[in-house]
């Protein structure tokens, strides 16, 4: 019984930790499959967390808050597209610039809107879905936030969009060989821009999950490198949407296990556990070689001469 409770709790926590990572990684997947590495992810998730919270707090509606986050993320994706696609600015530096800008604007606006109060402002977050009665042994696993379910469903949606639709084919085409795509009559700039806007919106939802569902409040350390974890996960997932689920669950699982063992009184160097996904990714990169399955045109700005 002890063990069952422990495992149920672990699985439930794993799903919660994995949710923002799933959204973030799917967002990055859209960007990278179209040929753009979006290092703005860390800041866009932060912007999503902030915008979702601020809009929800001011309108009183969590759903409008979520919509606000989606719009903000889409706009940030569009700015990234303007810089890296239209102008052809170096993707690393412009992405980092977006991260710094999105973070700065969020911090600034938070102070303007909420002031410097001692007690951090909070909202009533999304409830967990009452799928099973509260006392059922499996209830902690099934009774998750709606956004967690949406996130898992989104993996299937993204798999379908990128793999099976015309739009997905266009994204892959401009990500693999923009010259050929252009010759075939595709507008490389427009397709990459759309991919970045969708990607930005997904990243922002990942951030908004934290404020609107999991925490109900906004703190300055809320994203704490989750965006960089997504950059790692996408390599780990070999740019395949379905693998994103496994990557996010494995990382979420390690994280949840570490938290649980700590509350049980085990003395663990948990900070070193937190480094694991990064170390694993560097090893994975070393073994596979990044260029093996990355989109061929990743990091290359396309110039129409």
């Amino acid at each position: 019984m002890e063990l069952t409770l422990f495992l149920v709790g672990l699985i439930a926590a794993t799903l919660r930790v994995a949710t923002p990572l799933i959204f973030g990684t799917l967002g990055e997947l859209f960007s990278e499959r179209s040929g753009v590495l979006n290092l703005g992810i860390e800041g866009i998730m932060f912007l999503g967390a902030f915008t979702g919270f601020a809009v929800a707090a001011k309108t009183g509606s969590l759903w409008i808050g979520l919509l606000g986050a989606i719009v903000a993320g889409g706009l940030a994706g569009m700015l990234m597209a303007l810089l890296s696609v239209r102008l052809g600015v170096n993707q690393h530096v412009s992405g980092l610039g977006i991260t710094l800008l999105a973070t700065g604007i969020s911090l600034y606006s938070f102070r303007v809107i909420f002031g410097e109060s001692k007690i951090p402002p909070s909202i009533e977050p999304f409830p967990m879905l009452p799928i099973l009665p509260e006392l059922h042994v499996l209830a902690p696993i099934t009774n998750q936030y709606l956004l967690t379910y949406i996130g898992i469903a989104m993996i299937a949606v993204v798999w379908w969009v990128i793999g099976k639709t015309r739009f997905g084919l266009q994204i892959r085409a401009v990500g693999e060989n923009p010259e050929a795509a252009d010759a075939a009559g595709l507008n490389v700039y427009a397709i990459r821009t759309r991919a970045l806007v969708i990607g930005g919106a997904l990243m922002a939802v990942g951030g908004a999950f934290l404020t609107l569902a999991q925490l109900g409040s906004f703190t300055f350390g809320i994203i704490a490198g989750r965006g960089w974890v997504c950059i790692a996960l996408i390599i780990f997932a070999n740019w395949q949407s379905v693998n994103v689920l496994f990557g996010a669950l494995i990382f979420g699982g390690v994280q949840a296990l570490q938290l649980r063992l700590q509350t049980l009184g085990f003395k663990l160097p948990y900070e070193l556990f937190l480094s694991l996904p990064y170390v694993v990714t560097i090893i994975a990169l070393t073994l596979a070689g990044r260029n093996a399955s990355a989109p061929s045109a990743l990091l290359k700005a396309y110039r129409r001469e």
Binding site: G88, L100, Y108, V229, I282
Partner: protein
């Protein structure tokens, strides 16, 4: 009907030096929108931003204090970028340098400054180099993209720092997670008494001059720049590309590490979690703003140091959130990047 066509037309070289100067007013114009949203007057705000800090002696010195690590991270990033090695990891290398310096400062007990200070500098350099090593060796041996690995190394070192401060290195007498104070002989001496300005700035200026000399005046620098222009071209010209890139990457990490050592030995005297708070990322802004030229980097670092100080003045004087400084810095980066590209285009009327 009249039609306009955008076409590529490389701008003259002197344009490159003008661009940061054009970018600054453009940035101020853009960021004044969010100052207005806060109900403040942008002109007053910018007065406090860039004039006030220079008006008083204490705050002008503080600008130099803030610029000290920025000169080094800017130089580190520019050094790597010159040869096309995209070191995004100055932040992590700075932390590694700070850890190494804190260790030396804790280990050496009774040393005279003549030994203690060089030990800190070399320790910082070695720490940063060590942290840059995995990404560098993977790049040259297996062609693993350095952007992702240097970025991930940043996240790892943050966890290592917090592990050390909450565990083995935690100072038992302190309320905060910080390492014990470093030995007196390893503290960087003050340049002006009762200010925070320390020996680090002399070191930083010296390193700026050395990187300039290496990049512009030595055959090694010529190789670096050749690789930066075209890796294949450099290879065919007989340059040992891998060996050069490895050296550049390690030296770049080392310079960033010295910035970390300086923060420990000159400002905090402990290792703390927030030893940097983005100085390495600001280094990327500074390198870009300075056009990757060491002297440009020097000016850009002073300017960003001014903005960092100014943001605090604006916050104090007008109640505008201090994060305005971050917004201005990042906007300046994006505007400069855009202008560097746009200078190569002309709009021409075609019939």
């Amino acid at each position: 009907m009249l039609k306009y066509k955008i076409e590529r037309a490389p701008a003259p070289v002197w344009m490159r030096t003008l661009i940061p100067l054009i970018a600054i007013p453009v940035t101020f114009l853009i960021t004044s929108i969010i100052i207005l949203l806060d109900g403040a007057n942008p002109i007053t705000a910018y007065y406090h931003f860039i004039i006030s800090p220079l008006a008083g002696k204490a705050s002008a010195i503080e600008v130099l204090v803030k610029s000290t690590p920025l000169l080094l991270t800017g130089a580190a990033v520019a050094f790597a970028f010159n040869s096309g090695y995209w070191n995004i990891g100055a932040e992590g290398q700075l932390y590694a340098g700070a850890i190494a310096a804190a260790w030396i400062g804790m280990t050496l007990k009774d040393v005279p400054p003549i030994i203690g200070i060089p030990a800190m500098v070399l320790g910082g350099f070695a720490g940063g180099m060590l942290w840059a090593f995995p990404s560098a060796i993977l790049k040259v041996k297996l062609n693993v993209d350095e952007v992702v690995t240097t970025l991930l190394m940043n996240s790892i070192v943050l966890n290592v720092t917090s592990f050390l401060l909450n565990g083995p290195w935690r100072d038992p007498v302190s309320m905060w997670p910080q390492s014990p104070e470093i030995a007196a002989g390893t503290v960087f001496f003050k340049l002006i008494p009762r200010t925070r300005l320390h020996f680090g700035i002399i070191l930083a200026v010296l390193i700026i001059i050395i990187t300039w000399f290496v990049i512009k005046r030595t055959s090694f620098g010529l190789k670096m720049r050749a690789i930066g222009l075209s890796r294949e071209g450099a290879h065919f010209a007989g340059i040992k590309v891998n060996k050069t890139v490895l050296t550049v990457a390690l030296v770049s990490g080392g310079i960033a590490g010295i910035a970390g050592a300086g923060e420990v030995a000159g400002i905090h005297f402990h290792l703390i979690d927030a030893i940097s708070d983005g100085l390495g990322y600001s280094g990327i802004i500074i390198a870009t703003l300075g056009g990757l030229h060491p002297f440009g980097v020097g000016l850009a670092a002073l300017f960003i140091g001014l903005i960092d100080t100014g943001a605090q003045t604006v916050a104090r004087q007008m109640g505008v959130p201090v994060y305005l400084g971050d917004v201005v810095q990042s906007t300046l980066l994006l505007v400069t990047l855009s202008l560097f590209v746009l200078q190569n285009y002309r709009i021409r009327r075609v019939k």
